[in-house]
């Protein structure tokens, strides 16, 4: 029996620049991801993996091709609707955390809900911060936290709206090995326990091997797509 498809990418291409200087960052990429999958995208820098993630996250428009998230063709939506869609269905985690410096941990985590005019569910919030080990840090500002803690806050922020898809761009790129392991471990916990679909970009082979499926990119194409865990 097939699992539910969360993401479908059809013939995605992205060209930067025009004419002679045009660079093809993505070249006709197609794949699909099922609910609850943990996918790692690996490849050398310049292989197009970050471009891919940005397009999946609704941040950068593709030159050609379609992205369906839970059957919604996201680039057929207008800007306002896409922004709302992104807020509710996509959780993004960046290498440099991108937390809001003037908001404390609690506010940073609940930001996606506040933008929607929603109140966070107390129970859900408590479960998330306990798992992330942030319960005693709620009133801290981002600059009072270590890198690992800041990244944990950004995981919380990505999770709070229970998004259909969580995307992480080199989430451990700025962390030491102990913190990297913790971050990956936490993502795995949410992936397994909440069936949170997760796509992560990394150049670290060891991190990629933690995923259920590894896609390798080169020159804007997916050259390998392997399931390593079922």
């Amino acid at each position: 029996m097939r699992k539910i498809e969360i993401l479908r990418v059809e013939n995605l291409s992205k060209v930067y620049g025009k004419g002679e200087t045009a660079v093809k960052a993505l070249d006709c990429v197609s794949f699909s991801v099922k609910k609850g999958e943990f996918v790692a995208v690996v490849g050398p820098s310049g292989s197009g993996k970050s471009t891919l993630l940005h397009i999946l996250g609704g941040v950068d428009r593709p030159t050609d091709g379609k992205v369906f998230i839970e059957n919604t063709d996201i680039y057929a939506l207008d800007e306002t609707k896409l922004a709302i869609f992104r807020r509710r269905q996509i959780g993004l985690i960046y290498q440099f955390y991108n937390l809001i410096p003037v908001l404390n941990v609690r506010e940073n985590i609940t930001l996606p809900l506040l933008l929607d005019g929603r109140k966070p569910d107390k129970e859900q919030f408590k479960r998330i911060i306990n798992t992330l080990g942030l319960a005693d840090r709620l009133d801290y500002l981002p600059n009072q936290l270590s890198g690992g803690q800041q990244q944990r806050v950004s995981i919380g922020r990505a999770l709070i709206s229970s998004p259909a898809l969580m995307l992480a761009d080199e989430p451990t790129g700025n962390l030491d090995s102990k913190n990297s392991r913790e971050i990956i471990e936490l993502m795995k916990v949410f992936n397994k326990k909440l069936k949170q679909t997760l796509i992560i970009i990394t150049h670290d082979e060891r991190i990629a091997l933690q995923a259920d499926r590894v896609m390798t990119m080169e020159d804007g194409k997916i050259i390998k797509d392997e399931v390593i865990r079922s």
Partner: protein, 332 residues
């Protein structure tokens, strides 16, 4: 809309306010009364229209829910607009996705059950057939005594295997069905590991293997001591069986702020890459599996660990295999 009692009361109250205020003002000034009447009347009309529109949206949602309950799970009502109504649609959509997933899982369970029964029948059939042959042979009166002893011994070992198989299956099914309550006690990992390897020390010594246990003596986790020790023992047994004589098995453990981890690694023959995703599946036998292996030990370990909210994972290379067990401090 008028069928809703609260709407009838609402309109009635609005009408009453209009009538009373108009008649009060009428006793003072006729023109003011007329203006008041017109203003209030238009307010009533507007609010009634709005309410009607809102109720229309609710009716739309209930039509949608009816279609979902008839099985159209992937119908998308999300409109990606601001506001409560759109959030409600979004939440309803999430619930329907969850429902669809559960329906899927039910179907999978059904298939899994059918597969299991066929696997089990197969596992039982082989020894039974061989025992039939053996008893036929024993019935022969001219059979020499030493042969008779050999055959009865063979039957006995087959029966032991069957008994073990049935007991394991029973345990496994109890775990999977959730009828076993796992204790939630504080378990010291060092004690746990020592208990797990207790019965394996002799076979390990017979194979001349080195067993190393290293880790933080104070490492603890919350779980069931006896069941977890059985799970760990199964893994260590598996490592021992797939490590050649003179090999080495290392069990290490530590506790971090997120989880308590136990790793069991060996320098044995390793697991084939194609087998690795499936080794925890019940009755799965990889390329390196022994002839008398059934493929139930690892499946049982996984069930025990996952039932307690933990996770187990295997990685392998030419240098050996490593199993990692984790128990998380807080589970979402």
């Amino acid at each position: 809309m008028l069928r809703n009692r609260e709407i009838r009361i609402y309109i009635l109250l609005l009408g009453l306010v209009m009538l009373i205020s108009t008649s009060v003002i009428f006793s003072m000034d006729k023109t003011a009364a007329a203006a008041n009447f017109a203003a209030l009347a238009s307010v009533i009309v507007i609010s009634v229209l709005f309410t009607k529109w809102r109720y229309g949206k609710i009716a739309e949602l209930s039509r949608y829910l009816r279609r979902i309950s008839s099985g159209e799970y992937l119908l998308d009502i999300r409109d990606n607009k601001e506001g409560e109504l759109s959030i409600l649609k979004n939440e309803i959509y999430k619930v329907t996705i969850m429902l669809a997933e559960q329906a899927n899982m039910l179907k999978n369970d059904k298939r899994f059950l059918a597969d299991s029964i066929s696997d089990i029948s197969h596992q039982l059939k082989t020894p039974i057939t061989s025992m039939f042959v053996m008893t036929d042979l024993i019935q022969d009166e001219n059979l020499p005594v030493d042969k008779r002893v050999e055959f009865t011994q063979n039957i006995k070992s087959q029966l032991e295997r069957l008994q073990w198989l049935v007991t394991s299956l029973l345990k496994l099914s109890k775990i999977d069905a959730g009828t076993i309550t796992f204790k939630k006690e504080k378990v010291n990992v060092k004690d746990l590991v020592n208990k797990s390897v207790e019965h394996l020390l002799i076979p390990i010594e017979l194979k001349n293997q080195a067993l190393e246990i290293i880790g933080d003596e104070n490492a603890v986790f919350t779980g069931d001591f006896n069941w977890t020790s059985e799970a760990v023992a199964n893994i260590v047994k598996n490592s021992m069986e797939h490590t050649p004589e003179g090999g080495k098995i290392t069990i290490s453990f530590n506790e971090t702020s997120i989880y308590t981890m136990i790793t069991i690694s060996d320098n044995g023959e390793g697991i084939h890459k194609e087998d690795l995703p499936y080794i925890f599946n019940r009755f799965y036998k990889g390329k390196n599996a022994h002839d008398n292996s059934i493929g139930i030990g690892l499946a049982m370990s996984k069930s025990i660990i996952e039932s307690q909210g933990g996770s187990i994972d295997a990685s392998s290379s030419a240098e050996g295999t490593q199993f990692t067990i984790k128990f998380y401090k807080s589970v979402v």
